[in-house]
């Protein structure tokens, strides 16, 4: 990546060009634009409490997107993450005993790791295995809590109302998520191995590393992120619903891609992914502030997605040629 940046900079000879060739740049620009638009339309929101309420639900999508990102690091795709997050939500809300709930959540993460192992051993396409798994998670969720409801532990819903000084909690969560994701994938040798699964599994094997173990680690990391997302969801909504995850899966894919991720090659950006998740989350609020009729909100959301990716395709084409 550094190479492409440099080459591009030589070609165009400007700092802007270097910036444009960074993978997460477009998501930063998009996020700034969306934020400026929101603050311009509703100046009252540009305060501690306004931001807190505006981004109230964002940790759910942020961690769901990070989970999707870890799977996409292995050049795989996860169609089950939405119903997995819903399952976690239901476990937190539906299983009263803390010990049992914790054990169930651990089992969930282990289940994710096993899913990775299954995909690896049998060389199955991840898209279908996770498709099947999405039914399994949904079914398990319905078995725990057949109807929406349940009770969330008090300490959890209280934790969601925490007001750290200066920086609103959701912003803090986003920053921590970015940092952790970046540290894991880009600042450790473990991260190099993880990215190797997607970019060059053969090289990884030749270097004496186990692709199986690396892929399982990626899936387990995704499972952990999914659990965090589900716990946030339970804490924020203080209820459980096994069907709540439907839209989440596709939004998470959108967030990773907006953030500069690719479907193949182990190319992802944790920082960009979190930004992408925020863009997806905020574009909904933006549209209701702009009093776009509910029917057309989907359209504008789709349009934003196309614009961002179209722009990226155009700027990247210039890099290649």
């Amino acid at each position: 990546m550094a190479n492409t940046s440099r080459r591009y900079a030589e070609n165009a000879g400007s700092a802007l060009a270097v910036l444009m060739s960074k993978r997460s740049t477009l998501s930063v620009i998009a996020l700034v634009l969306v934020l400026v638009a929101v603050f311009w339309m509703r100046p009252n929101i540009a305060r501690y409490n306004g931001v807190r309420l505006l981004l109230n639900l964002s940790p759910v999508l942020i961690f769901t997107a990070l989970a999707q990102m870890f799977i996409m690091t292995a050049s795989d795709i996860d169609l089950s993450i939405g119903s997995f997050v819903a399952l976690v939500n239901v476990i937190v809300a539906g299983i009263a005993s803390p010990g049992l709930a914790a054990a169930a959540l651990l089992a969930c993460v282990a289940g994710y790791g096993l899913m990775g192992a299954l995909i690896h051993w049998l060389r199955l396409p991840s898209i279908v295995v996770t498709l099947g798994a999405s039914f399994v998670w949904l079914g398990l969720g319905l078995m725990v809590l057949p109807l929406p409801g349940g009770d969330v532990p008090l300490w959890l819903s209280d934790a969601m109302r925490l007001r750290p000084p200066w920086v609103p909690a959701p912003v803090l969560v986003a920053l921590v998520a970015m940092l952790l994701g970046h540290l894991i994938l880009y600042q450790t040798s473990f991260g190099v191995i993880l990215r190797g699964v997607g970019s060059s599994p053969a090289a990884l094997e030749r270097a004496g590393r186990s692709t199986l173990r690396a892929r399982m680690s990626l899936y387990a990391l995704a499972g952990i992120c999914g659990v965090i997302a589900g716990v946030f969801l339970a804490g924020i909504t203080t209820t459980g619903d096994a069907n709540v995850g439907r839209g989440l899966t596709l939004l998470s894919v959108g967030a990773v891609i907006i953030g500069g991720g690719e479907f193949v090659g182990g190319i992802v950006s944790p920082v960009g992914t979190v930004m992408g998740a925020l863009v997806m989350q905020l574009s909904g609020s933006l549209l209701s502030f702009a009093s776009v009729a509910p029917a057309w909100q989907y359209s504008v959301q789709g349009g934003i997605l196309v614009c961002i990716l179209g722009l990226r395709a155009i700027s990247w084409r210039r890099v290649v040629t």
Partner: protein
């Protein structure tokens, strides 16, 4: 194993078909041999829509790794609304209704192809975005119009000829045409060539772009057709009528033995898988399995069928 059996098992569609037969036998055994024909007839009448959508999705998936159409649910709903809105519950508007529904399918296919080929957006995200846009149109349209399918269409989707629903016969003819195109025509060979290796296909002189555009247009046209017919079958369109087709359109294609990496497809398998999934749900309903467990079993079976098929089909890498 004798060669004949080994050949049979090596067929891409073997596991889906075997699964469907097995589940049917269980259902018939449970009812002590009564109503086996009715079960098949009912299953056909419902799974035909999934098969039609699946055949379209199959063409897209066979045209190369990463190719997929997620706009199908919205596409189905829009075609259903547009056609039924044109028909207004009268037979006179039927031809126009079909035309307008299919036209919307073709336009959606072209738009998808434009996003994917001209803007180079990955198919998964491009069709996700176009699906969102189409969904808006569905919402907007459903507010301003009365959509009611023509009585003739309703009876066409439910009438039977010698126990076989008419719509199934029509869909079988359409599927046979797809098989013929895939096996015998240049376009069919081009799809597989693109699916196996796009660069090699391009070097060999295949017009890769045109082939992929065709695949996406064919897919969305099939989805639109299924939408028009499904509106007749259910007595009228509804906003969430397409949602169950999102995952099942992918499931039937893959369980049916089509390679997700592209380059190979099975129309028969897609049909078998549609019937298999429907019979499976019927069976679980007959045994009164609770909804949660039903989903778990469905999911586990999707993975199991896939794993079995893969283990016994070493050539499909």
């Amino acid at each position: 194993m004798p060669l004949a059996i080994r050949r049979l098992v090596a067929q891409p569609s073997f596991y889906a078909t075997a699964g469907a037969v097995l589940v049917w036998l269980v259902i018939v055994a449970h009812s002590h041999g009564v109503g086996g024909g009715a079960v098949i007839s009912g299953a056909l009448n419902y799974s035909v829509f999934f098969a039609l959508v699946g055949v379209g999705q199959m063409l897209v998936m066979a045209s190369g790794a990463g190719n997929i159409d997620l706009s199908i649910p919205a596409n189905i709903t829009l075609a259903a609304y547009l056609s039924s809105g044109q028909m207004q519950g009268a037979n006179a508007g039927m031809a126009a209704g079909f035309a307008i529904g299919l036209l919307s399918g073709v336009i959606i296919g072209l738009a998808n192809a434009l996003l994917i080929l001209a803007l180079r957006i990955p198919p998964m995200v491009a069709t996700l975005a176009s699906g969102l846009v189409i969904e808006s149109f569905c919402f907007a349209y459903s507010r301003v119009s009365v959509a009611k399918p023509a009585p003739l269409l309703v009876s066409f989707t439910t009438q039977r000829l010698a126990g076989i629903p008419l719509v199934v016969i029509a869909a079988i003819v359409a599927s046979a045409a797809v098989i013929a195109v895939l096996k015998r025509s240049l376009f069919g060979r081009h799809i597989f060539a693109c699916g196996q290796n796009m660069t090699a296909a391009w070097l060999a002189g295949v017009n890769v772009r045109r082939t992929r555009v065709f695949a996406y247009v064919a897919c969305s046209t099939f989805a639109a057709l299924a939408g028009i017919l499904f509106a007749g079958f259910t007595g009228g369109p509804s906003l969430n009528m397409g949602s169950e087709f999102l995952l099942s359109s992918i499931a039937v294609v893959v369980i049916g033995g089509t390679n997700v990496a592209g380059g190979q497809a099975s129309v028969v398998g897609t049909w078998s898988a549609s019937i298999f999934l429907f019979l499976l749900l019927t069976m679980l309903n007959v045994f009164q399995v609770d909804p949660g467990l039903k989903n778990v079993i469905t999911g586990a079976l999707i993975i199991a069928v896939l794993a079995l098929g893969k283990a016994n089909r070493p050539q499909a890498q």
